[in-house]
Structure formats: C-alpha cells, structure tokens
Amino acid sequence: MSLYDLAPTAEDAGIHIQNLTVSYDTDRGRFNALKNVTLDIRPRHITGFIGESGSGKTTLAMAMMNAIQPPGRIDGGAILLDGAGDVLQLRGEPLRRLRGRYFGFVFQASSNSLNPLKRVGAQLMDLGRSHGISDLRGLLREAKALAERIGLDGDRVLTSYQHELSGGMRQRVGLVFALVLKARILILDEPTTALDMLTQQAVLEIVRSIHQEQGLTTIVITHDMGVVAEMADRVVVMYAGRVVEEGPTFSLLTNPQHPYTQGLIRAIPRITGNLDDAKPLPGSPPDLATIPTKGCVFRERCYARTSVCDTVDPVPTSAHGDGLVMCHGVDAS
C-alpha cells in the first residue's frame, strides 16, 4: 500500500517523484542532469531544494511540470500528482490545462519574465485568455485583491510597466501571476537572489503567509541555506543531479548526515560566533561533464572519502526519522 492510495482531499496536491532521470544533449555528449531521483513532496509543506549551480534543482522543478525543453529529455520515471496521475504521460492541451490548474511558477529573475512593452494588467489578461477564462474583469479584480494582500498598491501595479517597479515589487508581481489562477503548487526559483536583505525578509514573510492561508504545496529552490532555514518545513539537498539528503529542516540543520550538507552549513557566513568556525567548501560545483558515472558523485570534495566511494553508488539510507541520506559513511556507522 503506497502513500498515494490514500485519497487526498480535492485541494491537497502532493507530488511523488519516482526514479526520475533527465539528461541534456550537449556538444560534449549526453549527460544526466537528474539520475534516479525518488522523492515525495508533501502537500501543505514548504519544501526547500538546496544545492549549487548545476545540482539539478531547477531541472527537477521543471520536470515536475513536464516542462523540460530540448536539448533536455526525460529518460524515465514517473511524476504522480495527487488527483491527476502521472504528469509525464500528458502531452499537448491536457498537459497545458493541468499546468494552469495546479502550478504557479515564480521565475528566478521576475524582471525577465515580464513583458517590458505591456502593462502588468494587460499581461494578466493575456494569462486569463490563454487559459480560457471568460471573466477577465473578475480576474483583474482578483489580481488586485491579491496584490493588495501582499502589500502592493493594486491599481498602481496593474497600470505599471515592469521597469516602473522595484526588484521587490516585481518579485511580488511574479507571485500574483503564479497565484491568480488558483495554483495548488507554488514553485519559487531563487525568489530572493537579486534582492537585498530587508526585501528578502519581506518576500519570504509574504510567501509564508500566503502558503499557510491557501494551504499550498510550496517549493523554494535556492542555494541559500539561510532562506531554507527561515521558511522551509523540509529540505532536499541536491548534488550533481542526485538527492543526497532529505528531511525536516530542524533535524537536517542541527544534525546533517551527508558531508556535503555539513560543508554547506559550515560555509555560511554567520552574524555571530567565532569567525574561524566558518570554512569554505573545497573544490568547485559539479560540472555535468565531469560527474563520475560510477561511485559517489561528491567524493572529490569529501573529507570522509574511502575506497568504496570510488566504485559503488551509495543507496538511500533512512535518516532524520522520515528522511534519507545517500552516503557510504553513514551506511557504515
């Protein structure tokens, strides 16, 4: 009896990723951006995807919507969405409708995802039309209410061009676009990377309260452990296209099992405590072309490397109560 046999309520949208493999075709050959990822994303939780550039966190989020573009390709696996079945089996119009109904995606650079030549309101109407909404007036009304809910001046924002808005405001407009069609799953890709600390806190606060209010399934993709620590219920640590550790935020932060997670936490510049306690993580972020095909993908940067790491792929081991870790060092102990 698996988890998804329990009928979810009409509103709850959990995501169950099974054995997902995604590869990219490059001029240097075909490389796996994700390899055998199996993961449950819980409804009504905020899940943080953390990892360096090239770790596959954005690819994983795109794959959930079956939105991998060539030269990328989904090679295998399933993505079961509560109440909708396997997203990877859908094509064309049904897929588009499913995305519109379930997913709201806030892009990394919201400034780049808005049309510079159209007012925000006109772009909202385009969004409504492309999803077959007849009551465009109602849509605008809702967008305005939503904008005001998250601290924007609704009238002003709807009549603005994107260059008239500050970075924090654009990011909030991105949220309005993502939520106005009543998305059940909110995905934020690096929502605060270009923002200063005060604006970052304001955006995180808004996401947190909207998430609660609407009972969303929220995914935050970030490379900043601070962002995850502030808002995520659970953390998924990714490295070179693998989930290397997963679990509740508190447990993962206080008791990280994987050497990579330990290194990430130790590398955070902290506001208090001894300056010398922070240590940079050695080496460079993974490059798809140089990821070893056999053995542990992190071994080149690992302090606990042993001979078994060179030849044998680590398997998921239970950790953090209901989480997992993939490391030979943890297996042994």
């Binding site: 360096e52 490379h223 900043d224 601070g226 502030e230 510049p269 405590g273 490059d287």
Partner: protein, 336 residues
C-alpha cells in the same frame, strides 16, 4: 589612506515629457579608509552605496566635497589627473559573468592591463606572462589550468577570482568590492571572502566592502569599520564588532534583524524587528527613516537628527532616540 569629506553626488534629471526630478544619490558623506584597513558600507538597494564606490574608483564624478588620497586633495585636480590618481583603487563588481569578455581567454584578459603596465615600467617581454601567472596564483588558481580557458568554462567563484586577479595587475592600494559575492554560489562565497582577507593581511591592500549582507561584511576583518547608509546618508558608524553587538539606530537594527536565522543552530535576537515597507524618496525636513521606523516620535518627523557620538567617540549615530537593542541571532549551546 583615503579620506572623503562631505561627498555629494546628484544625478541630473532626465528630460522628456514626464521630466523626472534630479536624484541626490549621495548627500554629504564623510569616511576614512585607512592604509590596509577594512571598511564596509551597508544598506539596501538604492541607498547610494554603489555610487560612493564608483566615485572612489574613478568611474563617477562628484558634485561637491573633498577626497584626500594620501593627503592630496583630488577635488582640485583636473578630471583626467584625478582618474590617474585613482588607478590604484580597483573596483570589483557584482557580476563576474559580465565583467569578463567572453571572447577572450583568461590570459588575454589579464595581458591587456599588464601590457599597459609593462610599457609604463619598461619591462621586458616575458614579464607579462610571468606576472599573469603570479596574480593567478595569488587568487588561488592554477595558471596552467586557467590561462588558456574562456570565461564560460569557469565557475562563478573562479570567474570572480579572475576579476580580482585582474584588479591586482596594477598593484592596487584599495579594492572596492561591490556586492562581490552575491552572485556566487553560497558554498564558494566564504572562499572569496577569505581570499580578500588574505590579500589585505599579506599585501596591505585596503578593502572597501559594499554590501547588504552584514554577516558577510563581518568576514573582511575583526578590526574593520562599518558605515550604515540610508538614502545617501550615514545613519550609524562604528567598529564592526561594536555595530553588530550594540547597534543604536533602528535602521541598523532592521538590517541586522533581516539576516536569516539558522533555526536549530541559532535563536533570533529578542528585539528582532523587520520593517516590511519599502522606502519612499519623498523629501522631508525630519529623519528620512521615520516613515518606516516603529520607534518614531513627533520630533523625528520634524527635525533631522545630526550624526553624533554614542558613548565612545568612534561610534556615531543619527537618531533622536538611540537605544541599543539585541537584534542579531545568538548561537545556541553546542552549535556555536
């Protein structure tokens, strides 16, 4: 040593039908960058901190005020001579992707400033490559590996190291790092900070660290000095440790509060406070921060607070009601 007194910079109004008002980005700022010192400017986007960095590195002019460079007043010099004097102040910008020419190898990027330097100092031919290898080693890169590469073949952290190496080709007195780590992977940020620290310690290069990330600014050195900038004005200044331990201006406290708390490893400061509104640039005769300040009184709306000492002479603030508050996170037992 660089000393700036009362620096003012106004960006002219843009014309057209809807003429915009002139923007005064820097409103009379004074500070000192000692030889081999570490200074941080802290503030939100749009507070003018970047403009100050650009003025110091000769990319921008200033309207009034003085800059003394090793005792010489640059304001009196013609712009070209001034720029020549500021050659030893090198700017490292936020985006290492945009700072390097994608069509040039790393060697070509480094050789350009070096050949200029070689001509000036009448060096022989082999000097350029020798020096290029030297600066790459200084920033912790292997010259044999990177010299022939193009920027796209390197990670963000490696690219930022190249940008720093290029700045080192002129043997600078001061490095101005403007959000130099904010676009780099978190795991690599600390490495860049450590590199800047090392350059300061071993070669006496002063650092001006411009950022909104106070936690990172702390890593340029214990003995550093912080200036908190709000809308083009200094609202608080103190040694790094003092400012983090006992900030008295509500804006400094807001910035310190906004540093993410690592739950489980840290507990939030008991007075943590985060204003959610964005700043407006409406003119006021009072304190500019008052509209966003939860501790503002009538006086704050009417009268502008001067920058005055708090307890010690070197901790200064511009607030009518300075109050120390505990806003930064504290490490929990066993997880320092």
């Amino acid at each position: 040593m660089i000393e700036a007194r009362n620096l003012v910079k106004t960006f002219p109004a843009r014309g057209g039908l809807l003429a915009q008002k002139a923007v005064q980005a820097v409103k009379g700022v004074s500070f000192v960058i000692p030889d081999g010192g570490a200074v941080a400017f802290i503030g939100e986007s749009g507070c003018g901190k970047t403009t100050i960095g650009r003025i110091l590195s000769g990319f921008e002019t200033y309207d009034s005020g003085e800059i003394y460079y090793n005792g010489e007043d640059l304001s009196a010099l013609p712009p070209r001579t001034r720029q020549e004097r500021l050659r030893k102040v090198q700017l490292i910008q936020q985006d290492p992707y945009a700072a390097l020419n994608p069509a040039r190898t790393i060697y070509q990027s480094l050789a350009a400033p070096l050949s200029w330097e070689a001509k000036r100092r009448h060096k022989e031919k082999g000097w350029i490559e020798r020096r290029a290898r030297e600066v790459l080693e200084l920033v912790g890169l292997n010259p044999d590996v990177v010299l022939g590469k193009y920027p796209h073949m390197l990670s963000g952290g490696q690219r930022q190291r190249i940008v720093i190496a290029r700045a080192l080709t002129v043997e600078p007195d001061v490095l101005v790092a403007d959000e130099a780590i904010s676009m780099i992977d978190v795991s690599l940020r600390l490495g860049i900070l450590t590199l800047l620290q090392t350059l300061r310690r071993d070669y006496g290069i002063a650092l001006l660290f411009i950022t909104h990330d106070i936690a990172a600014a702390r890593y340029i050195g214990h003995d550093g000095r912080m200036y908190v900038i709000y809308q083009g004005e200094i609202v608080e200044e103190a040694s790094t440790d003092e400012l983090i331990r006992s900030p008295v201006h509500p804006y400094s406290q807001a910035l310190l509060s906004a540093v993410p708390v690592l739950r489980g490893l840290e507990r939030p400061g008991q007075d943590r406070y985060i204003p959610l509104g964005e700043f407006s640039v409406t003119e006021t005769s009072g304190c500019r921060f008052a509209p966003r300040c939860r501790f503002a009184h009538d006086l704050c709306q009417k009268e502008k607070p001067p920058l005055i000492p708090w307890e010690q002479e070197d901790h200064r603030h511009a607030c009518h009601f300075p109050t120390p508050r505990r806003v930064v996170a504290e490490p929990l037992e066993g997880h320092s």
